[in-house]
Chain length 401, copies 2
C-alpha cells in the first residue's frame, strides 16, 4: 500500500504547470515564435561566464578527493565564510560562518527555517500576494500557513490584519521581497513597522516571533534601487536565499539560510538545521557547485533584460487602462484583469480568452490576488515586443478597449 | 522560540562523529601518520578521470541556459533514461525513465521511499546490524523504525524474528546489501526467503508490504562476486542508490530511487516522490552533476584498495583469535570485541583501550551489534599495513593474546 495523502495530491495539478505544459504543446503545433509563454519563472539569460570558468578551473585543478568528498553536514566552512563576508560588507551585517547554512535552493531554505522555529500545529503568517508553493512548503513541516489578504493599493503588508492574525500560535511571519508575483519590494517603512509590531507582539506573548525572509529575487531590482535587507530591521530574522535567479542557475540547486547573529538561539540554529536535514533527507548542495558559486558571489547574470521587458509591459498595460503597480524588481508583473461584460472581474475567464491569442498569462487567484493575473517576463525582449501588438489586439477585440 | 525537538537533538552526539573529531584533533598533536583513523566511511580513492572529463566537457560545450536551467521536479529525462537502461542491462530489469527519481544521495532516497509507502504511525522493519542514521531517517518521516536483532552467525536476516515482527502496521521492510557495518551481502537464498515471506504476509494482511533496498555499496564487492539485485526477487521493491561510494563523489549528492515496474502503483510512485519533495524541501540533485554522472554510469573509482585492505585486516583479526565474518563487500569489517578480565564483552571498553594506541575503532552497539566494533578501512593500504603491528601490540598488551 502507498501513502494516501501523496497519492491524492497527484490529482491536483498546479495551474502554472498546466499552462506551461499547454504552451509547450501549442508551440509544437504553431511554432514557438507564435506563442507568448509568460507562465514560468525560469531565468532567460545565461549564467555569467565567470561561473563557467570557475567550474572548469576547480574541476581541472582541485584534488578530486577534496573536491568531491563529503562536506560537513552544516556546509563547507570556506564557502560559509565567503557568503558571510559578502553579506557583511553588502548589508552591514556581522555574520560568521557558523550563521550560514547551505541548502539546495529557496525551497530547502524554507524547509529548514520553518521546522527550526515552528512546532507542529503552530502558524506561519504570510501576507498575500504570495508564491502558492508556500502552502505545501509550510504545511509539509507540520506547521500551518495563515494567509492575510493583500493590500491592493501597494501590495505592502496590511498591518491591521497582521496584528489581528498574530496569536499565541504564531511562530513566524514570512515575507518575500522582491515579491513573486507582484514584483513589489518591502519598503523601509514597511520593514520598520513590521519590526516594531513583531517586537511589541513578542513581548506581549512572551516569546520571540521569528521573521523568515525569502529573498531569491534580491538582486533583480529596477531603477538602480537597493532592496532594504530585512534582517537589518529585526533581530530574529532567518534570511532564505537561492542563487537560482541572480546567477541563472536554478538547476544547480544552491542557496542558504543566514541566521541573524542577534537572533534568539543564533548559535544553535545552524546545528539544528543539520539535525532537521537528517529527517528530511539532507539538502546539502553539490560541493563543486558550492565552491564555484563561492567564487562569483558578487556577480550576477546580465539582468538588464528584465528591466527592459518590465518597462515595455508596464507601459503597455498602463496605456490600455489596466490597474497595475509598477514592479520594483523580479521578473513578474501582476495587472488586474479587465471586467467582463457583466461588470465582474474574472481572471480565469480573462486568461482563457488571452489563450485564444496564444498569450499565456497565469490567473493570480492562487497567489492570493483574486482578479489579477501574473506575467513572467523572463523571456527575450524580442518576444515581449512581438507580444505587445497581440495584447493590444486581444484587449481591443475581447474587451473593447 | 525555536523548535524544542531539534534543539534537544543537539545534545546527543553521534559516536562516529565524536571519535572522528577526536582523531582529527589527535592527528594535529602527534602527526596524522601516527593515528589510525578507522572511524568514517568517506571514500579514499579519487573519482574516475572520466568524471572530471565529463564535468569539464559539459561545462565548456553546453549552452548554460540548458545546462543550469530548472530540470523537471521528477528529474532530467535524459539522465533518467540512461539510468534505466544501465540498470536494465546490468540486472535484467525493465525500468523506464518514469520509474527513476533522482535524489541527493541515499538519505534523500530513503526520505522519499519511506514517505511514499508508509503512513504516519506505520512501521518499517530493519534487521540489525544497521546504519544508525536509519533511525532519524525513518522516524523523521512520521513512520517508526522497528529493529529485529541480528543473526550473529552470518549477519543474514533472522526470519523467525522478522515473521513475528510483521503486523498490520508494517508498511515496508528495509534491507542494506552490501551491509554497513558488517560488509555482508544478502544472499540469493536470503532474498528468495524474504520475497516468499513478504508475498505470504502481504496476502495474509491484504496489503502489499514494500521492500526498500538501500544499496549505496552495490559496486564495492570482493572476490569478483556479483551482488544479487533485490528487486529481481520481489515486485514491490524500491531500490535506493547513491553514486557517493562507487564513484567517490559523496559531496556531489546524487543518487536515485528506482521503482520496480511490477510494484503496486509503479506509475504513481515517481510523481508521488515529486509531491513529497515539495514538503521536505526538494532534493533534486545539481543538473551538471546529474549529466556528468549519467555519462559515466558504468564506471567506478578504482575500488581495488578496499579488497586489499579488507584481506589484510581480516587475516590479522582471524589470526589474533577474533570472532569475525569475512565481508563480501563495502569498506567495513565488524569483529567481536575480546572479553574483558571479568569475561564480559564490552565494545566501549575495548575501543577506549584501542584509542590509547591511537587506533580509532567505533563500538557497534549503536548499529544493533552489541559487543562488536566497526572498522572503516577506506584509507590508504599503507595505513592498514602500519596499523597491523599496532593492533597486535594492543591486543597482546591489553588482552594477553
Amino acid at each position: 500500500m502507498v501513502n494516501r495523502q501523496y497519492l491524492e495530491m497527484l490529482g491536483r495539478k498546479s495551474v502554472i504547470r498546466e499552462l506551461s505544459e499547454y504552451a509547450t504543446e501549442r508551440a509544437k503545433e504553431i511554432g514557438s515564435e507564435n506563442i507568448y509563454d509568460f507562465s514560468l519563472g525560469n531565468p532567460s539569460v545565461p549564467a555569467p561566464e565567470a561561473f563557467r570558468a570557475a567550474l572548469i578551473r576547480i574541476s581541472e585543478e582541485m584534488d578530486p578527493l577534496a573536491l568531491h568528498g563529503y562536506s560537513p553536514t552544516v556546509g563547507n566552512p570556506v564557502v560559509k565564510q565567503r557568503i558571510a563576508e559578502s553579506l557583511n560588507h553588502r548589508f552591514g551585517m556581522n555574520y560568521g560562518p557558523q550563521h550560514i547554512f547551505p541548502v539546495s535552493g529557496a525551497t530547502g531554505a524554507i524547509a529548514h527555517a520553518v521546522r527550526a522555529v515552528a512546532e507542529p500545529g503552530e502558524e506561519v503568517i504570510v501576507s498575500a500576494p504570495f508564491f502558492p508553493e508556500y502552502i505545501p512548503y509550510i504545511n509539509g513541516t507540520g506547521a500551518q500557513i495563515r494567509i492575510i489578504p493583500a493590500s491592493f493599493e501597494d501590495f505592502q503588508i496590511r498591518f491591521d490584519l497582521l496584528e489581528e492574525a498574530i496569536c499565541e500560535k504564531t511562530a513566524a511571519v514570512m515575507i518575500n521581497s522582491p515579491n513573486n508575483p507582484s514584483g513589489v519590494v518591502c519598503s523601509e517603512e514597511t520593514l520598520t513597522k513590521l519590526a516594531d509590531l513583531l517586537t511589541r507582539k513578542s513581548a506581549e506573548l512572551g516569546r520571540n516571533i521569528f521573521l523568515i525572509s525569502d529573498e531569491p529575487y534580491r538582486e533583480i531590482v529596477f531603477d538602480h534601487q537597493s532592496v532594504p535587507y530585512p534582517a537589518r530591521f529585526y533581530d530574529h530574522t532567518l534570511t532564505c536565499y537561492s542563487f537560482s535567479k541572480a546567477l541563472s542557475i536554478p538547476g544547480e540547486r544552491f542557496g542558504y539560510v543566514a541566521v541573524n547573529p542577534a537572533a534568539e538561539h543564533a548559535e544553535d540554529l545552524v546545528p539544528m538545521f543539520g539535525q532537521i536535514s537528517r529527517g528530511i533527507g539532507h539538502n546539502c548542495p553539490s560541493s563543486l557547485i558550492q565552491l564555484a558559486v563561492s567564487e562569483v558571489l558578487e556577480e550576477t547574470a546580465d539582468l538588464s533584460v528584465y528591466e527592459i521587458n518590465m518597462n515595455l509591459l508596464y507601459d503597455c498595460f498602463k496605456e490600455l487602462g489596466f490597474e497595475v503597480i509598477r514592479p520594483d524588481g523580479t521578473f513578474y508583473i501582476m495587472p488586474k484583469a479587465l471586467p467582463e461584460a457583466d461588470g465582474n472581474v474574472d481572471s480565469g475567464a480573462f486568461c482563457r480568452k488571452a489563450l485564444k491569442y496564444d498569450l499565456v498569462f497565469v490567473p493570480a487567484d492562487g497567489f492570493g490576488a483574486p482578479g489579477y493575473f501574473r506575467i513572467a517576463y523572463c523571456v527575450e525582449t524580442e518576444v515581449v515586443k512581438r507580444a505587445i501588438p497581440v495584447i493590444r489586439k486581444f484587449v481591443k477585440e475581447e474587451y473593447k478597449r
